[in-house]
C-alpha cells in the first residue's frame, strides 16, 4: 500500500479504502436501559395508584375549568402587556441623561424585583386595610374594597412586577444597538424620542423578543399565584372543585394538562415573532 508518487515521503500510506469500524456506544445502551426501568416503575405506580383517569377526562372540559383557562390567558396577556409598557418606559428612563428619571427607574426595579410577587399580590388585594378610599383628589374617588377586585389586584401585582424584569431585558436590548445608529439618526436631525421609536427600539426588539417570550411563558404559570387573592384562574378553579369532590390529583393533572397545551402552542408563535423582527438582519445573498 505504499504511495509510489515521487517527491512524497514514504511511510504514510493511502488509507481511503479501509472501512471505518462501527463503535459500540455502551453508555447509550446503559442510559436507555435505566430510563426504561424507571418508566416501567412509574407506569406500574400509576396503574396501581388510585388515579381515576375517567375523572381526569370528565373534568378536562367542564365549564369551570375552561373559564379558568380563559381567565389565566386573559390575565397573562394583560399583565404581560402592562409589564411590557412599563418595562419599555422604565428602560428608556433608566438610560436617560436626566438623573431624576434614571434614579426613579432604578428605584422601581429595585423595589419590585426585591420582593416576592405573592407578597405584592397580597398587598394590592389588601390595600383597603390602609387606604379605605382611593382616587384622584377632587376629581374622582371610590372605596378601595370595590376597586381592588381580585382581577385588578392580580393585574397590578403581576404587571408591575413583570415591568421591573422586562425593563432590564429592554435595557440590555437598547444597549446592544450600535452607537453609530444613534449618531446616524441625530445626523439627519431626528430627536431623542423619534430616534428611540423608529431606530433604536425596533433593533433592540430583535434581542428582546426571545427572553420576553420566555417571560411570557413564565407569566402563564405565575398567574396561578393569583389564586391566593381569589382570582378565578385555572388552578384556583381546579382547587375549588377538589375541595368539593376530593379528587385532588386528578384535578391537578387537568390543570397541568392545560398549562402544557398553552405553553406548547406559544413556542411556535414566539418563533414567528422573532422572524418578523429579524427583518434586514440575516438576509441571504450579497
Amino acid at each position: 500500500m505504499m504511495d509510489a508518487r515521487p517527491g512524497l515521503a514514504p511511510g504514510f500510506p493511502d488509507i481511503s479504502a479501509i472501512p471505518v469500524a462501527r463503535r459500540t456506544y455502551y453508555g447509550r445502551w446503559f442510559a436507555a436501559a435505566v430510563i426504561i426501568l424507571v418508566l416501567l416503575a412509574l407506569a406500574r405506580a400509576f396503574a396501581h395508584g388510585q388515579i381515576a383517569w375517567g375523572v381526569v377526562g370528565t373534568f378536562l372540559t367542564v365549564p369551570v375549568i375552561l373559564t379558568g383557562l380563559v381567565n389565566t390567558l386573559v390575565m397573562s396577556v394583560l399583565a404581560m402587556a402592562l409589564g411590557t409598557v412599563l418595562g419599555v418606559v422604565a428602560a428608556v428612563m433608566r438610560l436617560s441623561p436626566n438623573p431624576v428619571l434614571s434614579g426613579s427607574s432604578a428605584f422601581y426595579v429595585w423595589l419590585f424585583r426585591g420582593t416576592p410577587v405573592i407578597l405584592q399580590l397580597l398587598l394590592w388585594f389588601n390595600l383597603a386595610l390602609v387606604f379605605p378610599t382611593i382616587g384622584i383628589p377632587g376629581i374622582w374617588s371610590g372605596r378601595a374594597v370595590d376597586i381592588m377586585t381580585p382581577f385588578l389586584s392580580a393585574l397590578l401585582g403581576l404587571g408591575i412586577n413583570q415591568g421591573a424584569y422586562t425593563s432590564e431585558i429592554v435595557r440590555a436590548g437598547i444597549l446592544s444597538v450600535d452607537a453609530g445608529q444613534h449618531e446616524a439618526a441625530q445626523a439627519i436631525g431626528m430627536g431623542r424620542i423619534a430616534t428611540l421609536r423608529r431606530i433604536i427600539l425596533p433593533q433592540a426588539m430583535r434581542v428582546v423578543i426571545p427572553p420576553l417570550g420566555n417571560e411570557f411563558i413564565s407569566m402563564i404559570k405565575t398567574t396561578s399565584l393569583a389564586s391566593v387573592i381569589q382570582y378565578p384562574e385555572i388552578l384556583h378553579n381546579a382547587e375549588n372543585i377538589y375541595y368539593a369532590n376530593s379528587r385532588v390529583i386528578e384535578l391537578l393533572i387537568v390543570a397541568g394538562f392545560w398549562y402544557l397545551v398553552v405553553v406548547s402552542i406559544l413556542s411556535p408563535l414566539q418563533h414567528l415573532l422573532e422572524r418578523r423582527f429579524a427583518r434586514g438582519a440575516q438576509v441571504h445573498g450579497r
Binding site: 450600535d178 453609530g180 445608529q181 449618531e183 446616524a184 439618526a185 441625530q186 445626523a187 439627519i188 436631525g189 431626528m190 430627536g191 431623542r192 423619534a194 423608529r198 431606530i199 425596533p202 433593533q203 427583518r279 434586514g280 438582519a281 440575516q282 438576509v283 445573498g285 450579497r286
Partner: protein
C-alpha cells in the same frame, strides 16, 4: 471676500486628559471642497464631529452659515441650545460615516425616506418620490427595495450619501467614507462624491485617498497631534509641502 460657510475659531477638545483638538481655526468657503488629511489620532474625526455637534468642543466656537453652533450668547454668558434647536442646526449638515451606519431594519428606500418623513414631515408619497430620485442620483434606483445587508459596502455607502442629501444640507461631512471598503468598491463612492463636488456642494472630507484629494479638493488641511500643521491648495500641500511633519506624513503614506 465671500463669507465662509463654516468658520471654526479656537476650538479645543480634550477627552479625559487626552488632547484631541488644540486651538483649531479654519474657514470653509461656500461651494468649496476641503480635504482633511493626517495620521491616526490627529483629531480629524473629532473636528468633523464638532461641526455636526456629535461632539461638543470644550472651548472655541463654530459658525455655520453665519449661525453660532450649540450655544447662544446673551450678555456676558454663553447659553447651551436645547436638543431641539441643535437638531434644527444639524439639518444644515449631512454626515457620511466610515462604517455607513445605515438603519439595518429599513430598505435602502426606507433609509433615505426616514428623515424626510420623520423630520421634514413630508407626506409618504412625496417622500418616496424624492428618495427614489436621490437613489437614482447615486446610481442605485434598482436597489431601492434591498436591505443594507443585501448591498455591497460601496452600495451601502452610496445609500448613506443619498440619505444625508435628502435633508438638503448646505454642507456635507465625510469621515473616511471609503476606508471600510474593498479596494474595487472605492471608485464608485468617489465618483458620487466627485459629482457632488461638481454640483457645487460645500464639503469637508476626511480621507486617505490622496489622489482624490489632489483631483477634487480646493483646499487641503494637514493635521497632526490635535493641530492644523499646514494648509493650502492641493497642489501646494500635497506636492510641495513646506512643513517637515507634512513631508514625513506624505512620504510615509506614498511609500
Amino acid at each position: 471676500m465671500t463669507a465662509p460657510l463654516v468658520a471654526i475659531r479656537h476650538v479645543s477638545k480634550t477627552f479625559s486628559g487626552h488632547r484631541a483638538l488644540q486651538d483649531v481655526s479654519l474657514d470653509v468657503l461656500p461651494g468649496k471642497v476641503v480635504c482633511l488629511i493626517g495620521g491616526s489620532g490627529s483629531g480629524k474625526t473629532t473636528l468633523l464631529r464638532c461641526v455636526n455637534q456629535l461632539t461638543r468642543p470644550d472651548t472655541g466656537g463654530i459658525w455655520l452659515d453665519g449661525e453660532l453652533l450649540g450655544v447662544r450668547q446673551a450678555g456676558d454668558k454663553l447659553h447651551r441650545l436645547t436638543d431641539r434647536e441643535i437638531a434644527r442646526q444639524r439639518l444644515k449638515t449631512g454626515m457620511v460615516f466610515q462604517r455607513f451606519n445605515l438603519f439595518p431594519h429599513m430598505t435602502a428606500l426606507g433609509n433615505v425616506m426616514e428623515g424626510l418623513v420623520q423630520v421634514q414631515k413630508r407626506g409618504r408619497a412625496l417622500a418616496e418620490a424624492e428618495a427614489q430620485a436621490l437613489l437614482a442620483r447615486v446610481g442605485l434606483a434598482e436597489k431601492a427595495g434591498n436591505y443594507p445587508a443585501q448591498l455591497s459596502g460601496g452600495q451601502q455607502q452610496r445609500v448613506a450619501i443619498a440619505r444625508a442629501l435628502a435633508m438638503k444640507p448646505k454642507l456635507m461631512l465625510f469621515d473616511e467614507p471609503t476606508s471600510a471598503l474593498d479596494p474595487e468598491l472605492v471608485g464608485e463612492v468617489l465618483a458620487v462624491m466627485r459629482e457632488l463636488a461638481r454640483s457645487g456642494m460645500t464639503m469637508i472630507v476626511v480621507t486617505h485617498e490622496l489622489a482624490f484629494a489632489r483631483e477634487v479638493a480646493d483646499h487641503v488641511v494637514f493635521m497632526d497631534r490635535a493641530t492644523i500643521v499646514e494648509q493650502g491648495s492641493a497642489e501646494q500641500v500635497l506636492t510641495a509641502p513646506r512643513e517637515r511633519r507634512t513631508q514625513d506624513f506624505l512620504s510615509a503614506v506614498l511609500g
